[in-house]
């Protein structure tokens, strides 16, 4: 269960932390009920402000991926997508596909890229 932060990545650190944890969830390296490190531990290890990690955790909580129990830390929530409609889930996919089409890629190329990325996310590459 390793999380990598890249200083060259244009995303803010809190976003990288949240996305990194989401990837671990997608790869099932973090399973339901697994404890996440306390905010203070992660912030100290990385050497960032406490709010940076707290913001990342809040985002994950907002997405229903973790729940924060005050005093006993954060835990991975069950993988239900009940609160999020299919439309909501498809929105970022549509945005990404639009960008790829505008970049001039052919549908077959896009499908091959999506298949490859899907495999990579699953395997944790």
């Amino acid at each position: 269960m390793l999380l990598t932060i890249d200083t060259r990545d244009p995303r803010p650190i809190y976003q990288q932390v949240a996305d990194g944890i989401k990837e671990l969830l997608a790869r099932r390296e973090l399973t339901e009920g697994a404890a996440l490190p306390p905010v203070r531990q992660l912030a100290a290890d990385l050497g960032v402000n406490l709010n940076t990690i707290a913001t990342a955790y809040r985002e994950l909580q907002k997405d229903g991926l973790i729940f924060i129990r005050h005093g006993s830390g954060s835990v991975v929530a069950s993988r239900k997508i009940a609160e999020r409609t299919q439309n909501e889930l498809l929105r970022p996919l549509r945005t990404a596909l639009t960008e790829l089409i505008l970049a001039g890629l052919s549908p077959s190329k896009i499908i091959s890229m999506v298949t490859h990325e899907l495999g990579a996310v699953g395997k944790g590459k």
Binding site: L2, T4, I5, D6, P37, L42, N49, G73
Partner: protein, 398 residues
């Protein structure tokens, strides 16, 4: 009885010193100390409390020499291309590096410069028992001096470092494994410590209240109280070890994280060994209180022998483990990690107050800086104040 009390207190002291020193392999201090104690018992020499203090101090001096040799070699552990964790240019040790290295070697003797006048003053004033406090203070001074000295030497050497190795890495890897005290706690071990301690305390309470007029409150309860306080101290040290930061460059994450985790577990185990020893002393106390003068000597003698054996075995074990840990840490090539918080800017003094920084120690522009805004700093300060208060209360007769 007074001597028995003090000799057991010395055990606790020596184990604390053992713990502090074992971070840098001077646990032979304990071994030698107990060997001398056993020798004195076997020869029928009745050492008084000041005699023990002088022996302890003398052994402490001898054992420090070994630490000096080890620290002497430390800058070159990675080979001639390195100065500690700085990858230096070829010819570094023929030029400016020689001076930096010599200065580092000279700074190693700062604790001796503080120790000698203090010891002379203690001997001249005849307050020999203060030697124990001097040893405790020196344990801290030696390590703090070393940490700051290494940091200073590395900063000086960085001016002559290979440029590309001095750039901070762009990717940092962290482990998402929680490091709470309960994640590193063995519940069976905790029960094995808690139950005998509670039973011993219950027995002592019953013993005292069976005839309060005939028993000395200080004699009955000081050592158990001290042992419990030591237990709390060890738990605090465990929390500090768990708070030890573990970022790693992505390119060598596995090596870094493995070395750090193994070192962390090793230090935590040492804490637990100390806690076990303190518990045994606490449990032994009711037996000492309840036994005759002759039987008491026998118990203490057997206890010394057991401690001696344990110290010998643990001394060998610690040395072996330490060598393994050094080998493991040498596998990971040192790398500079990005400074997201701007620690070099915000921590310019040995102490700072930075509520925004979650770390206890910041690596500032001029060395390490203790962050007073961290909760561990408050707990540590409260613990030290409590320690002083405990001894003041006992010294003043409660």
């Amino acid at each position: 009885m007074r001597i028995a009390l003090y000799s057991v207190i010395f055990h606790v002291f020596s184990w604390l010193a053992h713990f502090v020193q074992s971070f840098r392999a001077e646990n032979w201090l304990t071994t030698s100390f107990f060997w001398l104690q056993s020798l004195a018992w076997k020869s029928g020499i009745q050492l008084d409390v000041t005699g023990f203090a002088v022996i302890f101090y003398a052994v402490f001096w001898l054992v420090r020499i070994r630490g000096c040799f080890r620290r002497w070699r430390q800058p070159l552990l990675r080979g001639p291309e390195w100065f500690f964790s700085v990858h230096v240019r070829p010819g570094f040790y023929d030029g400016p590096g020689r001076r930096i290295l010599h200065r580092y070697w000279m700074r190693m003797f700062i604790p001796f410069a503080l120790d000698i006048p203090a010891a002379i003053a203690i001997f001249l004033t005849g307050r020999i028992l203060l030697l124990n406090w001097l040893i405790m203070a020196l344990c801290a001074v030696i390590h703090i001096n070393h940490v700051f000295s290494v940091d200073l030497a590395e900063r000086q050497a960085r001016r002559f470092a290979v440029a590309e190795t001095e750039r901070p890495v762009t990717s940092v890897t962290l482990s998402l494994q929680p490091r709470r005290l309960r994640d590193y706690t063995n519940s069976r071990f905790e029960w094995a410590i808690a139950v005998p301690s509670l039973l011993a305390l219950a027995w002592l309470v019953g013993y005292y209240f069976s005839a309060p007029a005939h028993h000395n409150l200080r004699l009955v309860f000081f050592l158990p109280l001290y042992c419990l306080y030591m237990q709390l101290g060890m738990l605090y040290v465990k929390r500090l070890i768990l708070a030890w930061r573990t970022p790693a460059p992505q390119s060598q994450a596995a090596e870094f994280l493995e070395a750090r985790e193994k070192a962390r577990k090793f230090y935590l185990l040492q804490c637990d060994l100390c806690r076990a020893m303190v518990t045994v002393q606490l449990v032994l106390w009711p037996f000492l209180m309840n036994s005759s003068e002759a039987a008491r000597d026998g118990i203490i003698r057997n206890w010394f022998s057991a401690i001696l054996l344990f110290a010998l075995i643990s001394g060998v074990w610690v040395e072996i483990k330490r060598k393994q840990l050094v080998k493991l840490s040498l596998r990971a090539r040192p790398a500079r990690l990005p400074d997201f918080l701007g620690e070099r800017e915000i921590a310019r003094w040995p102490v700072c107050y930075q509520p925004s920084a979650p770390m206890l120690m910041l690596r500032g522009a001029y060395g390490y800086s203790l962050n007073l805004a961290n909760s561990l700093a408050y707990i540590g300060a409260a613990y030290l104040a409590g320690f002083i208060a405990l001894f003041t209360l006992v010294h003043s007769g409660l």
